[in-house]
C-alpha cells in the first residue's frame, strides 16, 4: 500500500512540476504568431478516423481543397472513442477555429452542445442535423445515387443476379441498400438482389468473404456500402477476374481495380465541406440544413462509369436521373418504403 502511494506521490509531483513549468512558459509568445488574415478550418472525425474510405476521407479531401484554394489553415482531429467527440470539438473551439467540421451522425449531440458554447464560431455537421444559429448541417440522399447504380447493375448483369454488401445495419446504410434495390427493381424487376452484411466497417477480409459468397451464388455485380470492408469486396471482384464487378461507394474507388470497378456512388462530402467552408470566407455562411441529392449534384455516379458502361445504358440512367430530379420518382430510403415502392413504367 504505502509503496504504491509513494509512487503516486512521486509521479504526480513530477508531472505537475513539468506541467506547471511548461504551462507557465508557453502560451503568451504564441498568440502573436498566427497571422490574423489566415482563416482556420478543422474537422473532427468519427471513430472511423482518416482512411475510412468513406465520409472522413471525403471530408478531408474537401478540407484539403479549402487549404489549397482558399488559404485556410487546416487541422484534423481523429477521435479514438465516442467520448472524445465533445472535447475534440471544444479543443478546436478553444483555438478559435473559424469553422469546425463534425463528420458523421455520431457527433450530433457533441455539435449541439459545443456549438452553443462558442456562439461566435461556426460549425458544420455531416450526415445529421443540428438547428443552431452557428451550425450548418449537410445530409445526403444516398438512396438517389444508389438508385442509379441499381439501374446500371440491373442493365449490366449477365447472370440476372446482383449483390449488396453493407457494413452494419444502420439507417444511413439502409439508404444505400433500399435505393439500390429500388433501382434494380425499376430497371428490371426480374433481376435478383442478394444482400449481406459484414457486421463491421473495418475488416476487408470479412468483406471479401461476403462478396465471394454472393459471387458464388450467381451475382456478377456487387455494390458495397461497408467502409473499409469494401476493399475486400473490390479485391474479390478483382480476383474473380473478367465479368465480375464491384461498385464502390462514397468516393471514386475505380483506381483500386480499374478493370473490375464498374461504377461508384459518389457522395460528395468533399463538395459540401468545401462549399460551406468557402461560404465562411465569403461571409455568406448560413446556419441551414443543406440536402445534397441528385439535383444538387451531391450524389451521383463517378466519371469512370463510362469506361465500362455503354452509351445506351448511360442514356437510360440519365433518364432516371431526370425523373428523380423532377420528383417523378421518389426513391425509398428505408426497407419499409422499399416494400411500398412501385417503379414507374419507364
Amino acid at each position: 500500500m504505502s509503496k504504491s502511494s509513494k509512487w503516486a506521490v512521486i509521479i504526480v509531483a513530477v508531472v505537475i512540476i513539468i506541467a506547471v513549468a511548461v504551462g507557465l512558459r508557453k502560451p503568451k509568445e504564441e498568440i502573436a504568431e498566427v497571422p490574423p488574415e489566415s482563416l482556420k478550418a478543422a474537422m473532427v472525425t468519427d471513430v472511423g478516423g482518416l482512411g475510412d474510405e468513406s465520409f472522413n476521407d471525403a471530408a478531408y479531401k474537401g478540407l484539403k481543397e479549402a487549404e489549397e484554394k482558399l488559404g485556410f489553415e487546416i487541422t484534423v482531429v481523429e477521435s479514438k472513442k465516442m467520448d472524445d467527440y465533445e472535447p475534440n470539438l471544444r479543443s478546436l473551439g478553444d483555438q478559435d477555429t473559424d469553422i469546425s467540421w463534425a463528420i458523421g451522425f455520431l457527433l450530433t449531440d457533441a455539435v449541439d452542445t459545443v456549438a452553443s458554447e462558442y456562439p461566435d464560431l461556426k460549425f458544420g455537421l455531416i450526415d445529421s442535423v443540428v438547428e443552431q444559429p452557428n451550425v450548418a448541417s449537410a445530409t445526403f440522399k444516398e438512396e438517389e445515387g444508389s438508385f442509379l447504380l441499381g439501374v446500371i447493375a440491373a442493365k449490366m448483369t449477365k447472370t440476372g443476379t446482383v449483390g449488396f454488401v453493407g457494413g452494419m445495419e444502420v439507417p444511413v446504410i439502409e439508404h444505400f441498400d433500399a435505393g439500390f434495390h429500388a433501382g434494380v427493381r425499376a430497371a428490371d424487376p426480374n433481376v435478383k438482389v442478394l444482400r449481406g452484411y459484414t457486421g463491421k466497417f473495418d475488416d476487408p477480409a470479412k468483406g471479401k468473404e461476403v462478396a465471394l459468397a454472393q459471387f458464388n451464388q450467381g451475382a456478377d455485380i456487387i455494390f458495397h456500402a461497408s467502409g473499409a470492408c469494401g476493399l475486400g469486396v473490390i479485391e474479390a471482384a478483382k480476383e474473380q477476374g473478367e465479368g465480375y464487378w464491384a461498385m464502390g461507394v462514397d468516393s471514386c474507388q475505380h483506381h483500386l481495380a480499374p478493370d473490375n470497378v464498374m461504377s461508384c456512388m459518389m457522395k460528395r462530402v468533399d463538395v459540401a465541406v468545401f462549399d460551406i467552408t468557402e461560404r465562411v470566407k465569403d461571409e455568406t455562411f448560413e446556419p441551414t440544413h443543406y440536402v445534397f441529392g441528385l439535383a444538387e449534384n451531391g450524389v451521383g455516379t463517378c466519371d469512370k462509369t463510362s469506361d465500362h458502361v455503354p452509351e445506351e445504358i448511360l442514356d437510360e440512367v440519365e433518364k432516371y436521373r431526370e425523373m428523380i430530379v423532377n420528383g417523378d420518382i421518389v426513391v425509398p430510403a428505408s426497407y419499409t418504403e422499399l416494400e411500398a415502392f412501385t417503379p414507374p413504367a419507364a
Binding site: S4, K6, I10, A19, E78, D109, S128
Partner: protein
C-alpha cells in the same frame, strides 16, 4: 505431481500475491535501496517512453517540445482540461480494477470490453426508460443495474470455468463479440430512439451523474471510481473473501485442500470483475454520453484496462496511478493532434513502450542495482488451474 517450482516464492511485481498474503500494513516508511529502485522503475519507464516518442516526433519532422507542451497543456492547461483528463481516467480506473481483480483470483478477464458494453447499454436503458423517480433513487439504480449487467455477463464465463472447467479466456473473448452484436440489435431495435441515428433516447436528468466541477463535464463517476479503488482494496486485503480469492489465485489446489470453495470463489471473483467493467460502462452512459450510441466496434476501455491492471501490478492503488497515466496521455493525444498536429498513433506507441519497459523491469532492475535479487517465479495471470495428475 507438481514439482516445487510451481509454488511461487519470493514473488514480486505483477504476481506479488505471495507478499500480499502476509498481513498488510507492516511496511514502514524507511526506503531501502531496493525500494528506491522499485520506485524509480515506473518513472524511468515513463521518461524513456516519452524519449522514444520524442524521437518519433522528430522522425516525422515535428518539434517534440511543441508536441509535449501541447500534451501537457491539453491535460492540465486549464480547469476544463484537468476535468477532461479525469473524465478519461474514470472508466480506466474501473476497467483496470476489473481486470486486476480477476488476475488476483488467477483468472484472466479479457472480456472487460463486453462487460463494459452491457453495463453501458443497461444503464442507458434504465436511465431513459424510467421517469419520475427522484435522483437519489434513479441515479444509483441505473448505475448499479449497469454494474449488475456487467457482472452477469462475466458470471457466465465464471460459472463455465468453475463448473465445467472451460477456460475463461475463450468465453470472455467470445462474449465480447456477442455483447457487441447484441447491443447493436438492441439499439437498432427495442431501445432505439425514433429518427435516423442508431442510439437510445437520452437519459433523463434524474438519472444523470452529478457534475462535480462547475463549468466542466466532470461528473460524480470519478468519486465512484475512487470509491471502487478503496472497495476493491478493502475486499481483497481486509476480508475473508478477499483472502480466499487471493489464495485461489496463487494455488487453487492448495486452496481447495485448505477448505476453500474454489468454484464459488471463481464465480464470485468473475462477477465482481464484470461488475467493475459494467460500472465503467454505466458511468460513461450516465455521466458522459447520456445515452447509448451504436458502437461500430470495440471502444477499447476494456483492452486498455488490461494494460492498466498490469502496469498497476494488479494492486488497486497501482491501478489508480496507471489509469491516471493512461488517461492523461489519452487526453493529451487530443491536443497533440489539434495543436501540434501529431498523429494519435504516437500516444499508442508511448503507452505500449511504458508497459513494455515495466514488463521488462528486470532489465532496469539489473541496470539500477548492482546484483539481481534471488529466485523469482511469477504466477502467470493468464494461466490458471493446473491439474498435476
Amino acid at each position: 505431481m507438481l514439482n516445487a517450482d510451481l509454488t511461487p516464492k519470493g514473488v514480486r511485481g505483477v504476481s506479488n500475491n505471495g507478499k500480499d498474503l502476509q498481513k498488510p500494513g507492516e511496511q514502514m516508511f524507511r526506503i531501502s535501496r531496493e525500494q528506491a529502485v522499485e520506485l524509480s522503475i515506473p518513472i524511468v519507464a515513463v521518461l524513456l517512453a516519452l524519449l522514444l516518442g520524442a524521437f518519433l516526433i522528430l522522425f516525422i519532422g515535428r518539434s517534440p517540445q511543441e508536441a509535449y507542451s501541447a500534451l501537457l497543456q491539453g491535460a492540465f492547461g486549464s480547469k476544463r482540461d484537468i476535468a477532461e483528463t479525469l473524465i478519461n481516467v474514470t472508466p480506466l480506473i474501473f476497467t483496470g480494477l476489473s481486470v486486476a481483480f480477476s488476475f488476483k483470483c488467477g483468472l484472466f478477464n479479457i472480456g472487460a470490453e463486453g462487460q463494459f458494453i452491457m453495463g453501458q447499454i443497461v444503464a442507458a436503458w434504465i436511465g431513459f426508460q424510467l421517469t419520475g423517480l427522484p435522483t437519489v433513487i434513479h441515479m444509483p439504480l441505473a448505475f448499479l443495474l449497469g454494474a449488475f449487467a456487467g457482472g452477469l455477463w462475466a458470471a457466465l464465463p465464471g460459472y463455465l470455468k468453475a463448473k465445467l472447467g472451460v477456460h475463461e479466456v475463450i468465453n470472455t473473448i467470445m462474449m465480447n463479440y456477442i455483447a457487441l452484436y447484441f447491443s447493436h440489435y438492441l439499439v437498432m431495435g427495442v431501445l432505439k430512439e425514433p429518427g435516423p441515428i442508431p442510439q437510445t433516447p437520452p437519459v433523463v436528468a434524474a438519472a444523470r451523474l452529478w457534475k462535480i466541477l462547475p463549468g466542466t463535464r466532470l461528473h460524480f463517476g470519478l468519486i465512484l471510481a475512487l470509491g471502487a479503488v478503496w472497495l476493491v482494496y478493502y475486499l481483497l486485503f481486509k476480508t475473508t473473501l478477499g483472502y480466499e480469492i487471493r489464495a485461489v489465485g496463487i494455488n487453487p489446489h492448495a486452496a481447495r485442500y485448505g477448505g476453500i470453495n474454489v468454484s464459488r470463489d471463481i464465480i464470485i471473483a468473475m462477477s465482481i470483475s464484470g461488475a467493475l467493467s459494467g460500472a465503467a460502462g454505466a458511468v460513461q452512459a450516465l455521466g458522459v454520453q447520456f445515452r447509448f450510441l451504436d458502437l461500430f466496434g470495440f471502444v477499447g476501455y476494456g483492452f486498455d484496462g488490461i494494460a492498466v491492471a498490469l502496469l498497476g501490478r494488479n494492486h488497486p492503488f497501482g491501478v489508480l496511478i496507471a489509469a491516471t497515466l493512461f488517461g492523461t496521455l489519452a487526453r493529451g493525444a487530443i491536443t497533440m493532434q489539434s495543436i501540434a498536429k501529431i498523429p494519435k498513433q504516437i500516444i499508442g506507441i508511448i503507452q505500449a513502450t511504458i508497459v513494455i519497459i515495466v514488463a521488462a523491469d528486470e532489465v532496469l532492475r539489473r541496470l539500477l542495482k548492482s546484483r539481481s535479487p534471488g529466485t523469482q517465479a511469477s504466477v502467470d495471470a493468464g494461466e490458471v488451474e493446473r491439474d498435476g495428475e
